[in-house]
């Protein structure tokens, strides 16, 4: 069978223009679906990116005994720095800790309380060390080492937070993926519906083609090209809208308010191209082939 690309493209365009309003409606619906997929991808990728950043903040707090001597503290610091998984050890004295608390609770309600400590009442906070570590997997080992250090009373870690973040990431990824699958299915139905209408409007023509010996391939290809035109236009429109919103709105807002960090568009571009043009064309081709095969009898 010769590959009559030019004929198929021509017939695809003819079908596209012949269906006028239906083609426009399909473009708008497919554009909406693809755009929603794009927005969800933006959300998922950026939320995960921010959660990763949070997870990267790996730190333990080692609280010393209240009566730990300066000598004990110096020895403890030296020992902690010798642990291979500890990447950074910073001493926070009880005075610094009190000052931090004062800054944190800087209002009338707590003013009297902090004044009491300034007027000679004993500081209830212990000296402490902030210990940054290399990876979550080495956390248990490091904790065991730290608790054995002379003068250390207790340890507070962010492992639980890291685990919760991981759970949250999974929920967002799985939920988002399902939502995107749903949108792809909806898009396939949209294309299928357009092709169904086109098919019925051309039933006579197709019937004649079948009787004079046209193969299924020859009959199907113009429909495939018609839906490829719809998909390509929807994809172009969606990609353009995504680019505009991402670069002008999202990046602008986050730069101004610094609420969360956002991946630059360039880093998302490849994914957007795959979503809009890859998924768009897949939806178009798949939707049309399935529909034609369903309606076309031998």
């Amino acid at each position: 069978m010769k590959f009559r690309l030019f004929t198929f493209i021509k017939e695809g365009f003819k079908g596209f223009f012949r269906n006028g309003l239906m083609s426009v409606a399909s473009i708008l619906v497919l554009f909406s679906s693809l755009f929603l997929i794009g927005i969800f991808t933006t959300l998922i990728r950026n939320v995960n990116y921010n959660l990763d950043e949070m997870q990267d903040f790996k730190e333990l707090i080692c609280y010393m005994e209240l009566d730990a001597t300066d000598e004990q503290i110096a020895k403890a610091e030296e020992e902690m720095k010798s642990f291979s998984h500890a990447t950074n050890v910073t001493f926070v004295s009880k005075e610094e800790a009190l000052e931090q608390e004062k800054q944190k609770y800087n209002n009338e309600e707590y003013k009297q309380l902090f004044e009491m400590y300034e007027n000679g009442r004993a500081n209830p906070l212990p000296d402490a060390f902030r210990v940054e570590y290399d990876s979550v997997s080495s956390l248990d080992t490091l904790e065991e080492q730290l608790i054995r250090v002379d003068g250390v009373e207790s340890i507070r870690n962010s492992n639980e937070i890291a685990q919760n973040i991981e759970k949250l990431k999974n929920i967002i990824t799985i939920g988002g993926t399902w939502l995107m699958v749903l949108l792809v299915v909806v898009s396939v139905f949209v294309i299928a519906n357009t092709i169904k209408i086109t098919y019925h409007s051309r039933e006579l023509e197709i019937g004649i083609m079948r009787y004079i010996g046209a193969t299924k391939y020859y009959i199907t290809m113009p429909f495939v090209f018609e839906s490829m035109i719809i998909s390509a236009l929807s994809a172009g429109l969606g990609y353009g809208a995504q680019w505009y919103i991402y670069t002008h709105l999202i990046e602008g807002i986050t730069q101004k308010y610094q609420i969360i960090k956002i991946l630059p568009f360039a880093q998302m571009n490849e994914l957007f191209l795959i979503i809009y043009f890859g998924a768009g064309l897949f939806i178009g081709v798949f939707g049309s082939i399935v529909t034609i095969r369903k309606y076309m009898k031998v």
């Binding site: 069978m1 010769k2 009559r4 004929t7 006579l204 023509e205 019937g207 004649i208 083609m209 079948r210 009787y211 004079i212 010996g213 046209a214 193969t215 299924k216 020859y218 009898k297 031998v298």
Partner: protein, 258 residues
């Protein structure tokens, strides 16, 4: 050659429309298939085109086993059969030339061959002067002649005409029947005409197969043919006998090119 061997057909396992039908049509034969409405004529046509599958039995057409044929092969069978319908089934937005050319485009014929064959076959059916006309600008008889040209342009060995005169007045009916006779006698095509018009059948001295009660009721030649000679003259009115013979040779050569 067309052969039906113990062919039965039932829809949804209900009553048999055709039951144990045996039939043989040789190459170059002209056959009428007649019968009342609901007798199974349409089913027989659908089986010939492999639009329907047999429930049991065997159908062979020009070496194709239809009962075992995969759907992907059906288009190639249909290229061996030229189909003419009662309602012409022309593309209203294509002109006469384009309607006939489309049948060649669909099977991937080269444009040179299309340019050569389409005018020849339009001339054969007496419509070379109306190539640019659209179906709505033609009479019923002319439309059916376009349909006939389209049916034969790919040089099929078999022509099936399903009630070809059903929408035509008696004069036009004779005209179309004359053309079918010409194709049979001059080009050696196997022609099967499915009809319920008894007077049309009686005009021609051809084989008549009567279908009824789920099978072949009778299979006999009819009496006298009153149509063909006149119609053949009309078809050839602008063409000498020598030119026609040359045209037939050209057709066969062109068919080989496709």
């Amino acid at each position: 050659m067309i052969e039906f061997k113990n062919v039965s057909k039932t829809y949804d396992n209900r009553e048999y429309v055709l039951n144990d039908v045996n039939l043989r049509i040789e190459d170059g034969e002209f056959v009428f298939i007649v019968g009342k409405s609901g007798s199974g004529k349409t089913t027989l046509t659908k089986l010939l085109l492999r639009e329907e599958k047999v429930t049991s039995g065997r159908i062979i057409i020009n070496g194709f086993r239809l009962d075992k044929m995969r759907s992907g092969k059906v288009p190639y069978l249909r290229r061996e059969i030229g189909m003419v319908f009662q309602d012409f089934r022309l593309f209203p937005k294509k002109n006469v030339y384009e309607n006939v050319a489309f049948a060649m485009q669909v099977i991937g014929a080269p444009s040179g061959s299309i340019k050569k064959r389409v005018p020849f076959f339009l001339d054969l059916v007496g419509l070379s002067h109306k190539m640019k006309s659209f179906p709505t600008q033609l009479s019923g008889g002319e439309q059916q002649r376009v349909a006939l040209a389209r049916a034969i342009v790919n040089n099929p060995n078999i022509i099936i005409a399903d009630e070809p005169t059903g929408n035509l007045d008696p004069e036009m009916s004779k005209e179309i029947m004359g053309l079918l006779m010409t194709l049979n006698e001059k080009l050696g095509k196997t022609v099967i005409v499915v009809t319920h018009e008894q007077n049309l059948v009686e005009m021609c001295n051809k084989r008549v197969i009567t279908i009824g009660e789920g099978g072949i009721v009778s299979d006999v030649p009819s009496k006298v043919c009153a149509v063909p000679a006149v119609q053949q003259d009309e078809v050839q009115e602008d063409t000498s006998e020598e030119e026609t013979e040359q045209g037939v040779t050209d057709t066969e050569e062109a068919a080989n090119e496709v």
